[in-house]
């Protein structure tokens, strides 16, 4: 058995290496980290010390705190104001469409527990912005359809992540109870809402304190220490009060971003610090997977693949209808949202970190397999959407 420090060194170096290899074949780094984790994990090469594996929960909470804080900066009034009307309506429509259809199908058709269904449903709207951007570039697509599509993929993950955070908070409280859903649904909902608002409140207060004392910082080193300290403080207090680490840190980030009149280096400076934490988080997630579950797609996976895209298309269609978008946008925009990649896996990992073991494991292994499917069929669908909308090869 390797010692802890040696394990960490190997994880980080091998993780980097595998992400470079995966990027060459156009798969996201996250997939590389997870595969790397599976290979290095106890079932295959056994290169990870037990002590490191046992610390997975700790690493998840810390990594999630950083992820949530960074995400928070997207939710500023300044950025939200710059979103166009149809992009706004279509992205909201797409997120809700995929969420509702997938949740209902998994819950009612498959008879899975409600809390499992809403979490899977909340992962469904996630898209792969990088994949869509790449296709539009590759085929030199130009026009209003392309612009709208890029706008939607840029923002829909933000809505999706908020929705996911709420669903996960609710799922966590519901998961404890078994038997009749409706008997306990009301108190559970109430409890879920308390958790949501408590988390938002905590993040808001700490964000205010952060912004107030920010002026006393003098060097980049102070700033880095200050940011890390606040993120851990927020995460730690959330755990202490049984609140959502994800929501409170997201609110911390959003508050800091909104309260600062100028650009804020707090987010920028983390980029030089947090990548190894994320790498560790994803590799450990892979190492903790029961690989036996990974070989089959399962009924849930099939339902997910079959209902996600129609849900997105329906929702996007309704959004386009409401915002009076052009006919071709209404018809084809949903198709362009098919690719799914790293964001979905990231969300599934959160689910695994917080839900009971069986449910979390099932969700993660389902999403890993379905992501590969959508990663394969997604890009050609984007191309078809761009073609049908008449924005490929029309200009030159």
């Amino acid at each position: 058995m390797l010692n802890v420090i040696l394990s960490l060194g190997l994880i980080i170096i091998i993780g980097l290496l595998s992400s470079r290899i995966f990027n060459k074949i156009k798969l996201p780094s996250v997939t590389a980290y997870i595969v790397c984790g599976i290979l290095m994990g106890p079932y295959i090469l056994n290169l990870i010390s037990k002590n490191v594996l046992n610390a997975s929960g700790l690493v998840s909470n810390i990594a999630l705190s950083f992820i949530a804080f960074s995400l928070g900066q997207n939710f500023t009034l300044y950025r939200l104001r710059r979103i166009g009307k149809s992009v706004f309506a279509i992205s909201i429509g797409e997120v809700l469409g995929a969420f509702i259809i997938v949740t209902l199908s998994v819950w009612l058709l498959l008879g899975k527990p409600f809390y499992v269904a809403i979490v899977i449903g909340a992962i469904a709207p996630a898209t792969a912005p990088a994949a869509v951007v790449m296709i539009t570039r590759e085929y030199r697509a130009k026009g209003t359809f392309t612009d709208t599509l890029l706008g939607v993929v840029a923002i829909d993950d933000a809505w999706g992540i908020i929705l996911f955070a709420f669903s996960l908070a609710l799922a966590k409280t519901v998961a404890g109870t078994h038997g009749g859903v409706f008997a306990t649904l009301f108190p559970d909902l109430l409890h879920g809402f308390m958790e949501v608002f408590g988390s938002l409140f905590l993040g808001f207060i700490l964000g205010g304190i952060f912004s107030y004392f920010f002026r006393f910082l003098k060097t980049p080193a102070h700033l880095l220490i200050y940011v890390i300290g606040f993120i851990l403080l927020t995460g730690g207090l959330s755990i202490e009060f049984n609140l959502s680490v994800l929501l409170s840190n997201m609110m911390l980030g959003a508050t800091v971003a909104n309260l600062s009149k100028t650009e804020n280096r707090a987010f920028e400076i983390l980029k030089g610090f947090d990548p190894p934490i994320y790498l560790l988080f994803f590799v450990l997630a892979g190492a903790n997977l029961e690989i036996a579950n990974l070989t089959e797609l399962g009924l849930t996976g099939i339902i997910y693949v079959l209902t996600r895209l129609p849900g997105e298309m329906l929702g996007a269609f309704l959004g386009a209808l409401v915002s009076k978008a052009e006919k071709r946008i209404k018809k084809y925009i949903g198709l362009g949202l098919a690719p799914q990649a790293g964001v979905a896996i990231g969300l599934a990992l959160l689910a695994k970190a917080y839900l009971p073991k069986d449910a979390g494991e099932m969700i993660l292994s389902t999403i890993i397999v379905t992501t590969v499917i959508y990663e394969l069929i997604g890009p050609p669908l984007v191309r078809i959407a761009l073609e049908r909308a008449g924005e490929i090869g029309s200009s030159d």
Partner: protein, 155 residues
């Protein structure tokens, strides 16, 4: 301790929102490096253009969310492969690429504060504004160091 207004450069090369990419690059093509360029509208400072803003031209519409999920879908752009047709010089305007949230110092600030603000934010130049947010100059780390050396008789 001197004040920003004693050291800053008052003669600033500025652009407006409607300056196009071609005009912008022409202005600075003989400089050693692309400087911080203030964007003004009737004297008011409304934005800044930095080298990294010019680089945005190579990744039009890069999804904003990617900026914060850098660990998830990191695919660096190879600028040698990006198609940049000549008409871009006219079509891309300063307004499309400028930063509208940026760090400034006031002319009455003392030099020590200005320097630590630049250090904290990892900047070598910042625009200087007056009480009414009008652009009055530009100051850089080098201006402050130069001034110090002059005071001490080194230059």
């Amino acid at each position: 301790m001197g004040k920003v207004k004693d050291v800053m450069k008052r003669d600033v090369i500025t652009v407006t929102r409607s300056t196009n990419l071609r005009e912008l690059l022409q202005k600075f093509k003989d400089f050693h490096t692309f400087p911080l360029v203030p964007v003004v509208e009737e004297k008011k400072l409304v934005g800044v253009v930095k080298l990294e803003n010019i680089c945005k031209v190579f990744q039009p519409k890069e999804p904003e969310i990617l900026k914060t999920l850098h660990f998830i879908d990191e695919r660096p752009v190879n600028i040698f492969e990006v198609d940049t047709p000549p008409e871009m010089g006219y079509l891309v305007l300063v307004e499309d690429i400028m930063d509208t949230r940026f760090i400034t110092v006031e002319e009455e600030d003392n030099l020590n504060d200005a320097l630590s603000k630049m250090r904290l934010n990892n900047l070598i130049q910042v625009p200087v504004i007056d009480k009414n947010k009008n652009l009055v100059g530009i100051i850089g780390v080098f201006d402050i160091i130069k001034n110090l050396f002059m005071e001490r008789g080194i230059i």
